[in-house]
C-alpha cells in the first residue's frame, strides 16, 4: 500500500503556475488517496472534490429547473426548495455554482481533454465499443476516451450557453427586451435537454455500464485491469508496461489458478 501525492493526468507546464496549482496541492493535504497494490491513481483529491461540487450544483439546478420547465409534471420537486417561486429564485444561483465549479474542472482538465487522432480512431470504433463487441478499448485510448471528451466539450459549450441565456432570463424582458428572452428560453432548454441525455449516459457508464469505474471518483484509484481495459495508452504511460501483454499475463494466471 502506498499513499500517492502525485498528480496524474494533468502535467501542467512548470513555466506558468496556474492559480489552481496551489489548490490542488493543498487538497492533497486535506484529504488523501490510498492506492493499493494492483491499483493506479486516477483522480487526485482536488479533482474529486470539484467533480462532486459540480454534480451537487448540477442536480440542484436540474431539479429547480424541472419545476420551471414542466411544473405540471415536476411540481412535487418544488416544496424541497420552498415552493415554485423560490425554486425560480434559487435556480440561477445553483446554475451559477455549477458554471463556476465546472469552470474549475475545465481548467483542471483542459490538457487531457485536448482532442487527438486517437479520439477520432475511438469514434470510428464506437459502435463496437458500445455493443460490447470490442472487449477492450482501442490501444491508443489515453487518460480520457473520445466519449468522455465529447461530453466534456458539450458541457463547456453548454455552460457558455447557460451563462449567456441564463443571465438574459434572470434579468428578464424588462431589462433585455422580449425577443432576447424568448430566444434564450429555447436555447437554455435545448442545452438542458442535451445535458440531461448526457448525464444518463455518464452515470450509467460510470456505475453499471463499466464496473470498477465509480471508485475512480470516490476513492481516486482504479485497478490496473480497469486501466488496461478501458484506457490502454494511459496504462502504458503510467506503468511502462504493454497493456495487451499485461492482460494476457493476467489471463494465464487466472486459467492456471482456476485449474485444480
Amino acid at each position: 500500500m502506498s499513499t500517492s501525492r502525485s498528480i496524474s493526468g494533468s502535467t501542467s507546464s512548470g513555466a506558468i503556475e496556474r492559480f489552481d496549482d496551489k489548490a490542488r496541492e493543498s487538497f492533497e493535504h486535506l484529504g488523501q488517496t490510498t492506492v493499493y497494490r494492483g491499483e493506479l491513481l486516477r483522480h487526485p483529491v482536488y479533482t474529486r472534490v470539484v467533480h462532486w461540487m459540480v454534480a451537487l450544483f448540477f442536480f440542484l439546478a436540474l431539479f429547480t429547473g424541472f419545476s420551471i420547465y414542466l411544473p405540471w409534471l415536476f411540481r412535487w420537486f418544488t416544496p424541497f426548495f420552498g415552493g415554485g417561486p423560490l425554486s425560480r429564485v434559487m435556480h440561477p444561483w445553483f446554475g451559477l455554482g455549477f458554471v463556476v465549479f465546472f469552470g474549475l474542472q475545465a481548467l483542471n482538465w483542459l490538457q487531457p481533454m485536448i482532442w487527438t487522432a486517437a479520439d477520432s480512431n475511438w469514434m470510428r470504433n464506437m459502435g463496437k465499443i458500445v455493443s460490447g463487441e470490442a472487449k477492450m478499448d482501442p490501444p491508443d485510448t489515453g487518460f480520457f476516451n473520445a466519449g468522455q471528451k465529447l461530453q466534456f466539450w458539450e458541457i463547456v459549450g453548454g455552460c457558455i450557453a447557460y451563462l449567456i441565456t441564463g443571465i438574459i432570463l434572470w434579468a428578464g424582458a424588462r431589462t433585455f427586451g422580449r425577443i432576447p428572452v424568448a430566444i434564450s428560453y429555447v436555447i437554455h432548454d435545448i442545452s438542458a435537454v442535451i445535458m440531461l441525455g448526457g448525464i444518463f449516459i455518464h452515470i450509467y457508464q460510470s456505475t453499471f455500464g463499466e464496473p470498477g469505474t465509480f471508485q475512480a471518483m470516490v476513492r481516486g484509484a482504479v485497478s490496473e485491469a480497469w486501466a488496461w481495459t478501458f484506457h490502454p495508452a494511459w496504462y502504458k504511460q503510467v506503468t511502462g508496461r504493454d497493456p495487451q501483454q499485461a492482460c494476457e499475463e493476467a489471463r494465464r494466471q487466472m486459467t492456471t489458478s482456476s485449474k485444480p
Binding site: 420547465y69 411544473p71 422580449r178 424568448a182 444518463f200 463499466e210 485491469a225 481495459t229 492482460c247 482456476s258
Partner: protein, 300 residues
C-alpha cells in the same frame, strides 16, 4: 351553474390536458370598449380599480405629464397614458388612453407561461392570473406584446388587471366602467361593443373630420377583449406606445407546444436507452474476464 358559467376555463397555461370547461356551455365573449375620443383624463377609473381590488397605494413618480405614473405597477393595473401629440398642421392633441391588460383572444402571456394553471383564459374572454400557481419566472412579461404583467418582488409573483373577473362572474360590470363619468368606457358583449365602436368611428369620420378614425382590435393576437376607438387608427403608437402589430414570439407557440414535449421525451429515451443497453448487451467488464462456464451460451 348560471353564476359559474361566465368563468368556464377555456385555456389553461402549462396544462397537460384539455381545459375542463372548454366548449361545454354557450357563452358570450365580453368586451370593454374604450373611446379615446371622449376620455377627459379624470382618472376615476384608476381610483375605482385600486379601490375595488384593494390595491395598496405607493408613491408615484411625476414625469411632467398628466399621467399618474410612468407605467402600470403590480399594485396599479389601470393607468391613463397621456401624450401631447402635435399634428402636421401645428395643432396639438391631448391623447388619453386607458392602459390595462388587453385580454387577448390568443394571449402571449398564457402561451409563454410554463406553470400549470397560473394563467387561465375563461370562455368569456377574460385572461386571469392565479397567483397561487405562479412561479414568478416572468416569462409572461416577454410573451405579452402590451407590456402588462408586473412582478411583485415581495410575493415573487406577477399581477395584472383581472377585467374584474370577480364582478363579471357575478353579472356586474368592471369597476372602471362603473366609475367612468363621460361614458367613454362601455362594457358588454364583444359583438355589441364592436358594433358601437364601428358606429362611433363612422360618426368621427363623417361628422368630425377624423378621416383615419378606426377601431383597435388587433387580429395578430386573435383580437382583444378591450378595444379602442382611436382618432387615427393608422398610428396607434402615439397613444402611449400602443403597438400597431402586436406579436407573440414564435418560440412560445412552436417551441412550447411541439419541441418541448418531443425533446422531453428524448431525454426519457436516454434513460430507457441505458436501461435497454444494460439488459441487452450488458456491462463491459474489465479484462480478462473469468472463462465462460462449459456449455454456457456465449455470443461473439
Amino acid at each position: 351553474m348560471a353564476d359559474r358559467k361566465a368563468l368556464q376555463a377555456e385555456m389553461i397555461s402549462g396544462h397537460s390536458g384539455p381545459a375542463p370547461g372548454h366548449g361545454m356551455q354557450r357563452d358570450l365573449e365580453v368586451c370593454k370598449l374604450v373611446d379615446t375620443t371622449t376620455c377627459i383624463g379624470c382618472k376615476a377609473c384608476e381610483v375605482a380599480c385600486a379601490e375595488w381590488n384593494d390595491l395598496p397605494f405607493s408613491p408615484t413618480t411625476f414625469d411632467n405629464t398628466y399621467q399618474t405614473m410612468p407605467e402600470t405597477r403590480w399594485n396599479f393595473w389601470n393607468l391613463i397614458k397621456f401624450n401631447e401629440h402635435q399634428n402636421p398642421d401645428g395643432t396639438i392633441q391631448w391623447l388619453m388612453r386607458k392602459d390595462q391588460c388587453m385580454h387577448c383572444a390568443d394571449p402571449g402571456c398564457l402561451a409563454a407561461c410554463p406553470a400549470d394553471g397560473a394563467i387561465v383564459k375563461y370562455a368569456n374572454g377574460i385572461v386571469d392570473f392565479n397567483q397561487e400557481n405562479c412561479i414568478g419566472c416572468e416569462f409572461c412579461v416577454s410573451g405579452c406584446p402590451f407590456n402588462i404583467p408586473r412582478f411583485n418582488p415581495a410575493t415573487k409573483r406577477v399581477y395584472k388587471c383581472t377585467l374584474c373577473s370577480d364582478r363579471v362572474g357575478e353579472g356586474l360590470e368592471p369597476a372602471c366602467i362603473k366609475a367612468c363619468p363621460t361614458g367613454c368606457l362601455k362594457f358588454g358583449t364583444k359583438d355589441d361593443m364592436k358594433f358601437i365602436a364601428e358606429e362611433r368611428t363612422k360618426q368621427l369620420r363623417d361628422n368630425f373630420g377624423w378621416k383615419n378614425a378606426g377601431v383597435y382590435d388587433p387580429q395578430s393576437v386573435g383580437g382583444t377583449h378591450v378595444i379602442y376607438v382611436l382618432h387615427d387608427a393608422t398610428d396607434p403608437e402615439r397613444y402611449g406606445n400602443l403597438p400597431s402589430n402586436p406579436q407573440i414570439p414564435w418560440s412560445y407557440t412552436v417551441w412550447k407546444w411541439l419541441f418541448k414535449p418531443v425533446l422531453g421525451t428524448f431525454a426519457l429515451f436516454g434513460f430507457l436507452g441505458v436501461v435497454l443497453h444494460y439488459v441487452t448487451s450488458g456491462p463491459r467488464r474489465t479484462q480478462p474476464e473469468p472463462p465462460a462456464k462449459d456449455g454456457a451460451n456465449v455470443n461473439v
